[in-house]
C-alpha cells in the first residue's frame, strides 16, 4: 500500500494536535479562497441559512397580508413581488443548494473517506457562482422587482410592454437564476465524479451510506436537467430583449412551449430538493435508532428510480395550461409511478424504526416529523396528479399546501434534522438539546397549523397568489377568513420555532459545550471516524471501509447500541462473510494512538485487509450482475451504473495492488 503510507506521511506532517479545519488557517481570505470542501460547505451553509431567513420573512409578510380579507398591508403589485421573491429565493437560492451544496459538501467526502471532492477548485467556483447569481437575483429587487412568480411564465414575462417597472428587473432575475444553475451543475458534476472515483478502499457501492446514494441521484438530475433551465431562461431573455418568437405568441411563438421547457427542469428540480432530504432521513433513522437500515438496496435504487422518473412527469404542472388532453393523460398516469419508489422509502424507514432503540433527540424528532409531514405531502400529491381532481384544485391553496408539505415539511425539516445531526461534527460544539427539542416541536406544530389549514382553503376554492379575498361571497369569505387566520397564526408559531433554532445554534457556536468524542451518536459511517471537528485533510490516515454504514449490533436490553461506546472493540459485523476479519478491524481510535511509529506494521495489516476486501468484492459483482438482469426496466439503469462503477472501483483497487 504504497499510496496509503505516502498519503499518511503527507497528511500527518501538516497537523499538530488540536488543529482542525476551522483553525488551521486564519483570516477571511483563507475562507473565501479555500479549497477545503468543509469550509466551502460551511460557507454555503451560512449563505443558504441567511437566505432561508430572508425568504421566511417574506413568507411572513405574505401570511400577514392574508390575515384580513382586505388588502391592507400591500398593494396588489407589491404583493405579487413579495411572493415572487419568496418563491425565487427559497427555491433557487436556498433549497436547491441547501442540502447538497451545504451539508453534502461537508459530509460527502468524509463519508467516502477521501480527502476532498474530486475537483476542489470547481467546488469553490460553484460557491462563487452561487454568490454571483444571488447578487443578480437580489439586484432585480433594486431594478424594480419581478412580479411574475418564480415560474416566469410567458407571455407575461416575455412581453416587454407589460409590467413596465419590471422591465429590466426580470432580466436581472433571469440571469441570476441562469447563473445559479451553473453553480448547481458544477456541484453535480463534482459529486458524481467524487462518488465514482474517490471512494475509500473497500467501500463498494452497496457499502456507501444512503446519504451518498441520495446525493448521487440528486447530482444526476442536477447535471441532466439544469442545462435545460439555462437554455430556457436564456431564450426567454433573448425573447424579451430582441424578440425571437419562440415563446411570445405575439410573434408567433408558443407560450406553452415555455412551460414544457421550464418544467422539464423544474419538475426534476423538485427532486433535486427532496432527494437530499430523503438521503438525510436514511441516516438519521438508523443512527438514532441504532438499527441497521431496513432495505438498503431498495432505498438506494429507489433514489435512482425517482431521479429517472422525475424526467417523465413534468407535464402534470400543465394540466390547465392548454396542453393537449392526451399529453395530460399520459403525464398523469406516469406521475403515479413516482409514488412507488417514494413509498418504498417511507415503508423502509418506518420498518427501520421498528424495534429500534429510538432516542428522541432533536435529529430524531425532525426525522419523525419528516416521516409524518412528507407522507401527507406525498399523498396529497396523488390528488394533484389525478387529472380530473387537479383541474379543480390547480392554482388553489391546496397545491400551495401540497408542495409546502413536500418542500418545507420534507426537505427543510430533513435539512434541519441533518443540521442538528452533523452540527457537533461541523462545529465541535453541542447545541442545547432541550431547546432543540422544544423548537422541533414548535416547528412541527406551527408547520401543520400553517399548511394543513391551506388544504381546507384550497379545497374550498381559495386561489393562490391573490392578495385579497374581500369580494368573495359572504359565506365563502367567512370560511376563507377563518382558515387564513389559522394559517397565519401557525406561520408565526413556525417562525418562532425557527428563530429559536437560529438563536440556540448561534449561541452554541460560542458557549456550547465542546464535543469530546469523535462519534457522539455512535454512528457507523466514516465521517465519525475523524476528529471533531475534522482536521484539515479529513483523516490522519486514509480509512479503510470494511463494514456497511449501518452495521449496528443487535439492540441490547438496556437499549444501548454497541456503537455508542468509544472503546468498544466488539465486532460490528453482521455479515457472515466478514466475520472472519473481526480481529483486524481498523479502529480509528487505535490508529490515532499508534501514530507514526506503527505505520509499517499497520501497512502490513491493511494490506491483508485490503486483499480480503478485494476477494470479497470479486465475489459480489457476479451476484450483482445476475440480480441486475432481473430488475425492472426503470431500475436497470441504476443497476448498470452501479455495476460499471463497481468494476471501476475494483480496477482502481487492483491498481493499488499492483503498486505493492
Amino acid at each position: 500500500m504504497a499510496t496509503v503510507t505516502t498519503a499518511n506521511g503527507h497528511a500527518s506532517e501538516h497537523h499538530e494536535v488540536g488543529s482542525n479545519y476551522l483553525n488551521a488557517r486564519k483570516g477571511v481570505l483563507s475562507w473565501l479562497f479555500t479549497l477545503d470542501h468543509k469550509r466551502i460547505g460551511v460557507m454555503y451553509l451560512a449563505g443558504t441559512l441567511f437566505f432561508f431567513m430572508i425568504g421566511g420573512i417574506l413568507a411572513l409578510l405574505v401570511r400577514t397580508e392574508l390575515l384580513t380579507p382586505a388588502g391592507d398591508l400591500f398593494q396588489g403589485d407589491t404583493y405579487n413581488r413579495v411572493f415572487t421573491l419568496h418563491g425565487a429565493i427559497m427555491v433557487f437560492i436556498f433549497i436547491i443548494p441547501s442540502v447538497p451544496a451545504a451539508l453534502g459538501n461537508f459530509v460527502l467526502p468524509l463519508m467516502l473517506g477521501t480527502k476532498d471532492v474530486a475537483f476542489p477548485r470547481i467546488n469553490l467556483l460553484s460557491f462563487w457562482i452561487w454568490m454571483l447569481g444571488t447578487a443578480f437575483l437580489l439586484y432585480s429587487i433594486i431594478a424594480g422587482s419581478v412580479d411574475t412568480g418564480w415560474t416566469f411564465y410567458t407571455p407575461y414575462s416575455s412581453d416587454p410592454q407589460v409590467g413596465s417597472q419590471a422591465g429590466s428587473a426580470i432580466i436581472w432575475a433571469l440571469m441570476g437564476v441562469f447563473i445559479l444553475g451553473f453553480s448547481s451543475i458544477l456541484t453535480g458534476v463534482n459529486f458524481i465524479t467524487t462518488v465514482h472515483k474517490m471512494r475509500a478502499p473497500g467501500m463498494t457501492w452497496t457499502k456507501m451510506p444512503l446519504f451518498i446514494w441520495g446525493i448521487y441521484a440528486t447530482a444526476v438530475i442536477q447535471v441532466l436537467a439544469t442545462p435545460v433551465l439555462a437554455i430556457t431562461l436564456l431564450l426567454l431573455t433573448i425573447e424579451r430583449t430582441l424578440g425571437i418568437g419562440i415563446f411570445d405568441p405575439a410573434l408567433g411563438g408558443d407560450p406553452v412551449l415555455f412551460q414544457h421547457f421550464f418544467w422539464f427542469y423544474s419538475h426534476p428540480a423538485v427532486y433535486i430538493m427532496i432527494l437530499p432530504g430523503m438521503a438525510i432521513i436514511s441516516e438519521l433513522v438508523t443512527v438514532h435508532s441504532k438499527k441497521n437500515i431496513f432495505g438498503y438496496k431498495p432505498i438506494a435504487y429507489s433514489s435512482m428510480a425517482i431521479a429517472i422518473i422525475s424526467f417523465l412527469v413534468w407535464g402534470h404542472h400543465m394540466f390547465t395550461s392548454g396542453q393537449s388532453e392526451l399529453a395530460s393523460t399520459v403525464f398523469s398516469a406516469l406521475t403515479f409511478a413516482v409514488a412507488v419508489p417514494t413509498a418504498i422509502k417511507v415503508f423502509s424507514w418506518v420498518a427501520t424504526l421498528y424495534k429500534g432503540s429510538i432516542s428522541l433527540n432533536t435529529p430524531m424528532l425532525y426525522c419523525l416529523s419528516f416521516l409524518f409531514l412528507f407522507t401527507i405531502g406525498g399523498l396529497t400529491g396523488l390528488f394533484c396528479s389525478t387529472l380530473a381532481t387537479d383541474i379543480h384544485i390547480h392554482d388553489t391553496y391546496f397545491v400551495v399546501a401540497h408542495f409546502h408539505y413536500v418542500m418545507m415539511g420534507g426537505t427543510v425539516i430533513a435539512f434541519l434534522g441533518g443540521l442538528h445531526h452533523w452540527w457537533p461534527k461541523m462545529t465541535g460544539r453541542w447545541y442545547n438539546e432541550n431547546w432543540g427539542r422544544f423548537a422541533a416541536a414548535l416547528v412541527f406544530i406551527g408547520f401543520n397549523v400553517t399548511f394543513f389549514s391551506q388544504f381546507v382553503l384550497g379545497s374550498q376554492g381559495m386561489p393562490r397568489r391573490y392578495h385579497t379575498y374581500h369580494s368573495a361571497s359572504p359565506d365563502l369569505k367567512a370560511i376563507f377568513t377563518k382558515w387564513h387566520q389559522v394559517s397565519t397564526v401557525g406561520s408565526y408559531i413556525l417562525a418562532a420555532g425557527l428563530f429559536i433554532t437560529l438563536f440556540y445554534l448561534l449561541h452554541s457556536l460560542f458557549r456550547g459545550k465542546k464535543v469530546a468524542e469523535k462519534n457522539p451518536w455512535g454512528a457507523k459511517s466514516l465521517e465519525w471516524l475523524t476528529e471533531t471537528p475534522p482536521i484539515e485533510h479529513n483523516f490522519h490516515e486514509e480509512p479503510v471501509c470494511l463494514h456497511g454504514p449501518y452495521d449496528y449490533d443487535e439492540i441490547s436490553p438496556d437499549g444501548q447500541g454497541a456503537g455508542a461506546d468509544e472503546d468498544d472493540d466488539s465486532p460490528l459485523y453482521l455479515d457472515k462473510k466478514t466475520e472472519a476479519k473481526k480481529a483486524e478491524e481498523p479502529k480509528a481510535e487505535e490508529k490515532k494512538a499508534e501514530e507514526k511509529k506503527a505505520e509499517e506494521p499497520k501497512a502490513e495489516e491493511k494490506k491483508a485487509e485490503e486483499k480480503k476486501a478485494e476477494e470479497k468484492k470479486a465475489e459480489e459483482p457476479k451476484a450483482e450482475a445476475k440480480k441486475a438482469e432481473a430488475k425492472k426496466a426503470e431500475e436497470t439503469k441504476a443497476e448498470e451504473k452501479k455495476a460499471e462503477a463497481k468494476a471501476e472501483a475494483k480496477s482502481d483497487d487492483e491498481a493499488d495492488k499492483d503498486k505493492k
Partner: protein, 255 residues
C-alpha cells in the same frame, strides 16, 4: 467488465491512419449531405440529413473523442444524456401533435354545453355554491375530460355580473374559475391566453387584465403570471369557436 482501457497507465494511442480515415469519411459525408439536399426528396429529406448527421457524429464521438476505447461508463454518461434529450423531445411532441385533434372534438361539445348551461343557470353566485355543497353535480357531463369545461362558461357569465371570483371558487373549480373570472373582467374575448390557440391573438391581454385589475378585487390581484397557466381553460371554453382560424392566423397574415 474486464477490458477497461484506463487500467493501464500508458495512454491508449490510436494509429494515425484511423484519424485520417475518419477525417476522410467526414468530408465525404458532408459532401453527401449537401448533395442529397440538392435532390428533391420532399419530406424525407430531413430524415436522410439527420441520418447522415448521426453517422458523422458517431465518427467524431467514437474516434476523435475516443469513446469507443474508453470505459463503457463514459458511453453511458453520453448516451444517457441523449436518452433524456429524446424524452424531452418525445413528450413535448406528444403534446404538440395532439393538441388540435382533441380540441376540435371538444369545440363542438363545449359550444353546445355552453348554451345548455346558460339556459339553466340563473347567473347567481349562491346557486353555484349550493349545488356544489348539496352534492348535486353541476351540469352532468357524459365524459370525464369535459368536466372541466362545464363550470367555465358559468364563471364566464357570472363574471359579467360582477361577483366573479366568488362563483369560480365556490363552484369548486378553483383557479380555473378564478382566472376565468379575471378573463371575464379583463378584456373578454381578447384573453386568448390559451397558448395552443393564442399563437397570435391578443397576448398581452391576460397580463394586462391581471395587472390592471390588480387594484384589490380577488380576481384582479391574481398575478398575470399564473394567468398564462390557468387562464387557459377559461379561454379555451370561449375560444373554440375561433380556434381554428386563430391557429393559422400568423402564418396566413404574412402570406
Amino acid at each position: 467488465m474486464s477490458a477497461h482501457a484506463h487500467d493501464s497507465s500508458e495512454p491508449h494511442v490510436l494509429p494515425l491512419k484511423i484519424y485520417f480515415q475518419v477525417y476522410g469519411a467526414l468530408l465525404v459525408l458532408t459532401g453527401a449531405t449537401v448533395g442529397v439536399s440538392l435532390l428533391d426528396l420532399g419530406p424525407n429529406a430531413i430524415y436522410i440529413a439527420m441520418l447522415v448527421a448521426v453517422i458523422k457524429a458517431g465518427f467524431v464521438v467514437g474516434y476523435f473523442m475516443h469513446l469507443r476505447y474508453d470505459t463503457r461508463f463514459l458511453s453511458l454518461v453520453f448516451f444517457g444524456s441523449l436518452i433524456f434529450l429524446v424524452i424531452f423531445f418525445a413528450f413535448t411532441f406528444i403534446d404538440l401533435t395532439s393538441r388540435d385533434r382533441i380540441d376540435q372534438n371538444q369545440a363542438n361539445f363545449t359550444l353546445r354545453k355552453h348554451q345548455d348551461i346558460q339556459e339553466e343557470s340563473t347567473g347567481s353566485v349562491t346557486v353555484g355554491i349550493k349545488r356544489f355543497r348539496s352534492g348535486a353535480n353541476p351540469p352532468v357531463l357524459p365524459k370525464a375530460p369535459e368536466v372541466k369545461k362545464a363550470p367555465k362558461p358559468a364563471a364566464g357569465t357570472a363574471a359579467g355580473t360582477g361577483a366573479a371570483a366568488g362563483t369560480g371558487a365556490a363552484a369548486g373549480t378553483g383557479a380555473a374559475a378564478g382566472t376565468g373570472a379575471a378573463a371575464g373582467t379583463g378584456t373578454a374575448a381578447g384573453t386568448g391566453a390559451d397558448p395552443g390557440t393564442g399563437t397570435g391573438a391578443g397576448t398581452s391581454e391576460p397580463a394586462g387584465g391581471g395587472t390592471a385589475a390588480g387594484t384589490g378585487s380577488v380576481a384582479g390581484s391574481a398575478s398575470a403570471a399564473p394567468g398564462s397557466g390557468s387562464a387557459a381553460p377559461a379561454a379555451k371554453a370561449k375560444a373554440p369557436a375561433k380556434k381554428a382560424p386563430a391557429k393559422k392566423a400568423p402564418a396566413k397574415k404574412a402570406h
